[in-house]
Symmetry: D3
Subunit: 196 residues, 6 copies
């Protein structure tokens, strides 16, 4: 409603036709798949070289097929740590993905408000405890934090994954906060209503 | 889904029939109106005397007809400050009311994640700045904070209202956090989908 | 001395004769009992409906006859948490009550400055640890905090009491801080000198 | 009452007769003047060389005759910053001196609980603002803080005094906190009752 | 000395010969240029896809030829914000680069300890103020922060650069902290002694 | 380079010839020994009585021959806690002394950036944990902190030493921060290059 009038970013949004081919193709592909273009693609296309590195990093972490973190686990980390960073874009957009992957319409709001209260497993709570410490006090992470995760079956590669996802979205949160990146209206409702 | 298995509170939920008449009537009335019983009524009925004082206080602040704060303004204060206190129940339940009163499906998530980003008026932003200072650093509130609100047309009675709403829900947030009061599943979707 | 010239509140103090009968009676009764009218009664009488709910809540928590918290325990919670909130009115007024109930002229100042140092029992220290966590970080309260209290014989109802007292006076602290509620001069000396 | 049973410090209190002559003389002189020996003299006598440096520093700051800070101003700085450091000994002992020098039985409690609320002058409030910044965030002190004091007539030498008093009692607070230095019972009541 | 025995990372360091060709070539090229292989190349080579994205992002920000930030400005941002994040690797390695680019053997330690004290220009101080706010409180960045930079001639593209450098090294800091990435001994002395 | 133009302190530096004899002698002696006059001597000579107490205290703590803390241990405490206080003078000057006493060119930077990462013994890490708690949260120090040190063989007198060194340099840090005391250029390189 009012959203139509709101800017996607404090910075200019490039014209699709003026973009380098590879970036335009990425954007058209995501539009094809999602039915709309998430604003992060438009906002970051302002800087093509950074755009390429950003999404290469994103895909390396979020699309990788190895390790014990499920897709829902990864989006849960993003949602919880983005909430600590006060990042509207990531809480709303990745909360939507979390609802979808977890097939749970409640979990994203639960995770965003207070990571100790959600309907999640003790393993997931330990994962979020670690991620939030990396987000807020990474200088204090030490052996005891590694051990706390190993008790739940996370191995060192999983710990790298949790750390890297948290660190990467910490980058994303800071960019989104400073440029006032606006989440697409579509995200707010995604995964909340059973598909019919 | 999993919610059915989750307790409403760490404390016992009294049987409706065993409750004092006045409390049962309050609960039946809200059920009649809302279509379900918000868990705060069930959880706090564990202590009838406190229940009565709690809802008398609530109604004095949230149902009052005087002053310049709209119902949406009041729920916006509750949503923003409850998010700072990490209170799942109040963010979800009052976020639902905020969406409904503001007729805006996006505003509650915006306010809960970062009160500087929502699609709200400068007057509402000043109101939330003040409320959040009362929530987090009330010992530092002084003349400059009063002046900042007066610039937007808030008078002293409005300032009392903002303060009292913040203070009252600070009480509510602490109770809900400690007893792990669970928001009803119904709240998560309320006000997100246009009524047809 | 200079106090005579200082306002009781940033808001108007209503005329006793203009107040609703029930409120005037409460005020006259407390004056009869204490020898003076504590300013909280005058300051909150500005809003009769809130006044009634406030004191109903207060009495439900502070005058209740059940549970294992002594009156001194309850005032100790108020003094310690009000100090964390920087609330002059409550530290001074409830510190006075604490000295009287505990029959200890030193304990209120001890509790207000550093809750780890007073001449109190380990049970009372555990109680204050919990109350201060509820006051400052209620979103982080969990099973371990409940267990820490149970070790000292507190049951769930006691935990509710500690929580509710802390939460209620958190409300009171925020109101008093924002309206600059001034403690009566009488409180500062109460309970410090042995009665003769 | 219970105080008789409480230790003055976690460390041994030396026997007066075993102390070096100069230290014993200092202690006897303060006893002669105050009517009792403040525990800081007993606790720090455990380390004679540090004792001498501590009181030489103390006297250089608190007994100096130059500058525009009154004795009450200096004790007000000590009381306010010691409260921020949670130092029971200094809040109680220097709060007593503040009441006496200011001839005001209320001001010490006011300053200790919330330095924005006392019955003090705007000049004293600016002084406390600066002292508390030195106490808590000295790394952030800069030109603007100097200017804020100059507006109230403080010159550079006064600013050095405020800083040095805050810094010195920050040392004292840390020692007292770690060794659990206990304030003498006598301090709690000093300056509260008009002399007859 | 003892450094020889210390691990470069908590994670395995891959064998150069086993690495993908492109990554090995990057590493050999940096070794050729610097005379040693900075440990960040070895530690991150554990994950080739992330390695490629990391250095692509790094180069897009740190090697770009446009905008008004000098190379010293960029390394100054990295040093100051990495110090706030307690990241040993980045403070030491980028402090070395800062000394070299700024041709100033003192500035890196100054910036790392207290960003308000260095021998830098007011423009650089404003740049660091902004970067540190992005680092620690990006959710609070708003119009006033943009304006503060524009007063010193930074345009919007510069603001994006400052933000992106801070955000990217926030990622790097979190990775380095969690995997205990060790700075090479060589960095500690680089740029401190005039070349002869 | 630019350093020559930078003031040593916001306050006047007294003329050597105008100083009291004992202070001038101290300054000439340190110059004889170090080859230059550390700026702390010049800056504090502005107040002779405080100068005498400051260095008497300093020497009582840093030159004492008893106890189990080595000279490197003491300088390590100063470097780590001064970094937490953001004190450029003390981190640079005492970091230099730490490098020299520890015969380790890397340890000062390690300790200053993140006290959990240096190449130091577990005993030294426990010592720094305690010192940093005294520096930042001395009001929370209790029995558990004493026990943690005793496990590593520290006795009560060592604990006093750690506390007093931290407390004394907390004083020094606050003075240096407020008066902008500048470290001599000589300190930055001391102990970094092997003597030939």
């Amino acid at each position: 409603m009012t959203a139509k009038l709101q800017p996607v970013s404090r910075f200019p949004i490039p014209d699709l036709v003026a973009l380098p081919d590879d970036i335009r193709e990425v954007i058209l592909a995501v539009q094809e798949k999602a039915g709309f273009v998430p604003n992060v693609f438009l906002a970051l296309a302002h800087r093509p070289a950074e755009f390429r590195a950003f999404f290469a990093y994103h895909d390396a972490l979020m699309l990788k097929e190895t390790g014990s973190l499920s897709k829902a686990d990864r989006e849960m980390i993003v949602t919880a740590t983005s909430a600590k960073n006060g990042c509207l874009y990531c809480v709303v957009a990745h909360g939507a993905l979390l609802r979808i992957y977890a097939k749970n319409p409640l979990v994203a709001d639960q995770v965003a408000v207070n990571h100790l209260k959600p309907d999640i497993t003790p393993r997931q709570k330990a994962m979020l405890d670690f991620a939030i410490k990396v987000c807020l006090h990474s200088d204090e992470v030490g052996d005891a934090d590694y051990s706390a995760l190993r008790k739940y079956g996370f191995d060192n590669e999983d710990i790298w994954d949790i750390t890297a996802i948290t660190a990467f979205f910490g980058l994303s949160n800071r960019m989104a906060n400073v440029i006032s990146m606006r989440p697409n209206d579509e995200f707010f409702l995604m995964g909340r209503v059973p598909r019919t």
